[in-house]
């Protein structure tokens, strides 16, 4: 997309205007800006004859690669490649976007894991091949923006191009013959339509009366003045206008509008680069942590207080804004007849450097503190239990969060008891049912998400919990590889416990008391300093895009000679309004204002 390949230039589906302007474009400066200002749309069809690689040397080779890379053809290819390369990531569950789906997938297809990993198919969007495509695309983009910006800056200062000698060759022109001075009765109008395949001329005779026929000598000046007024009137017709007298004595106006089209185009592409840089900066500077907060409990914004925490390479732990947060209450509303969730609200107290405040966090309404946002990502129940060991000492006491599995909050969890004074470690694994129902003997299920009749249904394991090696473990899963299940004959012992109940564990392991049920919330804390720049870039890109697509770029010329007013126009792009604009210009120049808008703005069939 460099401005050098002039021969193949063709603006968005229009005929090559260099050819149309051949006789008048003797001015090299205007000629150059001509080809340059439209290179956004340059085709690189006609390559210079290709020489053997050995001829061009190393620098020549580099130049060849650069030209190829910045050509529209390669940019198109890269775009299509990018689209195709994005697709596998929607089919194969991605490690970061869909961890659960990923875990299921590798369990289902273990034989694929190795080569999928090699091809980075579980991390498509950070993979080498995906990155390579978009980096090449952005290099191509920059290689396109730089020369175009230079050319456009020059075009912004340039005058409208010289007037073509013959308007007949323009895609739209309109001629009004006012006849001899004072002869107002007969006006012959000739017009041609914008017909790229070969203009057909239609003659029409009209009995329109020019409002003020004037002597030929000063009428020319008046027509020009009226034309200029038309071209500068109204906010949609802000043409850049130059008037001059040609050597033949004819007076001409040359005018151009729509420079903002190319400005918008450049803005769009530059904003895309800005978007990429912002996202990259965010990746390096951000942090994100998850925390599970039980009702009544507090949390301090420090790395150690998070359940999980990840940050970019340039993240500095000093950046963590020091605040404390307590979950006062969590409200969940469900609809009675189908248990559909209606509303979730977390009420928290924030202690920000001694200043306390009451805040709420809702889905769709994150709370912002010190540049970080706190999102309500999930909620559930944490049964409050007290476990005593075989010696009668309290081994564990407090809420244990269970993870909800379904709409009625059937929740899975484990109660691990590592700190026993004597004997073996033990653990309980099973379900919490907020509203328990027994449809059949030995079968329990939850029927409603609110805790109307909470019940714990657990099985018991004893042995080595595997926590002593210091290897991080999933707190919601029991590693039973070195444990034995407590059984009664062939069946596992099932412990069923309602709130307020307490039970002696079999084999004299201790006691378990189900004392109450707390709600908890799962919160995401996230800080990304680049967000504002991401938004600004995106909005700038959209504005630039709209400008580059919807602002018509037009060149108009008007020539007055011997009582004949002739207007011609050339559009840079497909421009339905051109024909009408040219006719209006001619009429405005001749009669002071355009005549009625006859409906020519239609698609003609042939």
């Amino acid at each position: 997309m460099t401005p050098d390949d002039k021969r193949s230039y063709r603006p968005e589906g229009m005929a090559d205007d260099a050819a149309l302007l051949d006789e008048s474009s003797s001015d090299p400066a205007s000629d150059k800006s001509e080809s340059g200002s439209a290179t956004g749309t340059t085709a690189r069809g006609n390559k210079p004859p290709r020489r053997a690689v050995s001829d061009i040397g190393f620098v020549g080779m580099l130049r060849f690669i650069w030209r190829q890379l910045t050509s529209m053809r390669v940019a198109l290819l890269l775009l299509m490649l990018l689209a195709a390369a994005a697709i596998p990531g929607s089919i194969i569950p991605q490690r970061s976007a869909d961890p659960r789906g990923y875990a299921d997938y590798i369990a289902q297809y273990p034989e694929r894991v190795e080569w999928f990993n090699k091809l980075q198919l579980f991390d498509v969007y950070t993979s080498v091949w995906f990155s390579a495509i978009y980096i090449l695309l952005f290099i191509s983009l920059i290689g396109c923006i730089l020369p175009r910006t230079k050319v456009h800056l020059r075009a912004l200062r340039a005058e409208p191009p010289r007037t073509p000698r013959n308007f007949d060759r323009l895609p739209a022109h309109h001629r009004i013959d006012l006849g001899a001075a004072g002869e107002a009765g007969q006006v012959s109008v000739a017009a041609t339509g914008a017909d790229p395949d070969g203009p057909s001329t239609a003659q029409e005779n009209s009995s329109l009366k020019p409002s003020q026929p004037a002597a030929r000598a000063d009428s020319s000046a008046k027509f020009i003045a009226q034309g200029v007024r038309y071209l500068r009137g109204g906010w949609l017709r802000r043409y850049r206008v130059v008037t001059e007298t040609e050597p033949s004595g004819a007076q001409v106006i040359r005018a151009e509008r729509g420079y903002a089209r190319e400005t918008g185009n450049l803005l769009f592409h530059i904003a895309l680069v800005g978007l990429l840089l912002s996202v990259a900066a965010g990746h390096l500077l951000h942090y994100r942590g998850q925390v599970i907060l039980v009702q009544g409990r507090g949390f301090a914004n420090a790395q150690v207080d998070y359940n999980t925490f990840e940050a970019g390479a340039w993240f500095d732990p000093q950046d963590l804004h020091p605040f404390r947060m307590t979950l006062d209450q969590f409200d969940a509303q469900f609809r009675l007849h189908d248990a559909a969730a209606q509303d979730f609200t977390a009420f928290v107290t924030i202690d920000d450097d001694g200043q306390t405040s009451q805040e709420t966090i809702k889905v769709n309404h994150p709370l912002e503190i010190g540049g970080a946002k706190i999102y309500l990502q999930g909620n559930g129940y944490a049964p409050v239990v007290t476990v005593t060991d075989a010696a009668g000492e309290v081994a564990l006491s407090g809420p244990v969060p269970f993870i909800p599995d379904d709409q009625v909050y059937t929740s899975q969890g484990t109660i691990k008891v590592p700190d026993v004074t004597s004997g073996e470690q033990f653990g309980l694994v099973g379900y919490l049912l907020p509203t328990a129902d027994q449809p059949a003997p030995n079968t329990w299920r939850s029927i409603y998400p609110e805790p109307l009749d909470p019940m714990l249904v657990l099985t018991l394991w004893h042995g080595d919990l595997g926590l002593d090696e210091g290897i991080p473990q999933n707190v919601y899963r029991l590693d039973t590889s070195r444990m034995t299940q407590v059984t009664d004959g062939d069946d596992a012992v099932t412990i069923v416990l309602r709130v307020g109940e307490s039970i002696d564990l079999p084999e004299g392991l201790g006691t378990l008391a189900f004392e109450g049920l707390d709600r908890y919330v799962a919160l995401d804390l996230r800080h990304d300093p680049s967000l504002a720049y991401v938004l600004i870039s995106s909005v700038a890109a959209m504005v630039g895009l709209a400008m580059s697509l919807f602002i018509p770029r037009r060149r108009m010329w008007l020539r007055v000679r011997d009582g004949v007013v002739e207007a011609g126009g050339l559009a840079k792009t497909d421009d339905f309004g051109l024909e009408r604009a040219v006719r209006s210009l001619a009429e405005a120049a001749a009669y002071g204002q355009p005549l009625d808008d006859r409906d020519s703005d239609t698609v003609t069939s042939d």
């Binding site: 198109l76 929607s90 976007a97």
Partner: protein
């Protein structure tokens, strides 16, 4: 009978009106210079025959327009009632998306047709709208209801609304492209589209009068159709860009990240890239015409898959179809 049920009945009525309009538009297309005129009595002189078919064309177009406008009014009423019944913007599940999307497509067509006299697009637009509405009513229909907490946001109005609108506008652009490709093939002497069949092994295949698309001659040239398609697709592309941006803003609020390569995000991105490629292709010399047209078809296929496939096959954060 409640508002939701009345809305469903009106939606059926809309489909019926569009079907009638489609028939009238089709008659308008194929009479006159088209196939039907050849059945006139042979001894009638050409001028009278031409005059008669001209009259017939006028009449069928008048009927088509009136029924279409009636259909649009009923359609709007159905959508508004649906919104009342659900107490929210009426485009939160696949059924509503289909109904509102076809309304946008028809409205865009009416606006473009009034300004540019492209009534020839009436038959395909009403045909697609009828098919979409009937598919929605029979396959995707769900009871009008509120939405889950994650969807309770004014972005539902903006983000989804513009996505629906963009899809409707893309549909009109795609139909222009289909006509462009047909006209181009016809002009380049496709025997298939002249009802003479395509070259098979020994004898022509698909030789049928149904495929004699002589009415294509009454359409604008392929290059004009291409320009129309480009105009419409440009508008849709800007709408789609807004869909992506507003979706990112909403995702930042609701899910705690503005972009996470959720299947819907992936396919919206693919759609954007394919149409971006199309806009660029139209700017280069060797990729205008048919090739650019093929890109539109690829892009529209992605739009359709993004709406249907991603909602129904993949398990992502956008699984709100309710089906």
């Amino acid at each position: 009978m409640n508002a939701a049920q009345i809305s469903d009945i009106l939606t059926w009525g809309t489909a019926t009106a569009y079907l009638i309009a489609m028939v009238a538009f089709t008659i308008n297309l194929v009479t006159g210079r088209g196939v039907v005129a050849s059945e006139d009595e042979p001894d009638e002189d050409a001028a009278a025959s031409e005059q008669r078919s001209q009259r017939r064309r006028q009449k069928s177009l008048g009927i088509a327009k009136s029924v279409l406008i009636l259909g649009v009014l009923v359609h709007i009423a159905a959508v508004v009632l649906r919104g009342f019944a659900a107490q929210r913007a009426p485009w939160a599940n696949m059924y509503e998306f289909t109904v509102v999307g076809s309304l946008v497509a028809v409205l865009v067509f009416v606006i473009v047709a009034m300004r540019r006299k492209v009534w020839f697009l009436g038959a395909p637009v009403t045909g697609v709208a009828t098919a979409a509405i009937v598919l929605g009513l029979t396959q995707l229909h769900v009871v009008a209801d509120g939405v889950q907490p994650a969807l309770q946001s004014y972005w539902l109005v903006l983000h989804v609304g513009v996505a629906v609108g963009g899809t409707g506008v893309f549909t009109v652009g795609m139909l222009f492209t289909v006509l462009q490709l047909l006209r181009d093939s016809y002009d380049n002497g496709s025997t298939l589209l002249r009802g003479e069949g395509a070259a098979g092994r020994g004898k022509p295949i698909l030789k049928t009068r149904l495929l004699n698309l002589r009415w294509l001659e009454s359409l604008p040239r392929a290059s004009t159709l291409e320009v129309l398609s480009f105009r419409v697709n440009s508008v849709a592309f800007v709408l789609w860009t807004f869909t992506l941006i507003s979706g990112a803003i909403w995702a930042e609020d609701a899910w705690g990240r503005f972009w996470g390569w959720d299947p819907k995000e992936v396919w919206s991105f693919v759609v954007w890239i394919v149409y971006a490629a199309y806009l660029h292709a139209r700017a280069t010399q060797r990729w205008t015409g048919r090739r650019a047209g093929y890109l539109v078809l690829v892009g529209y296929a992605c739009v359709l898959f993004n709406f249907t496939g991603v909602n129904l096959i993949f398990n992502g954060k956008h699984s709100y179809s309710g089906v």
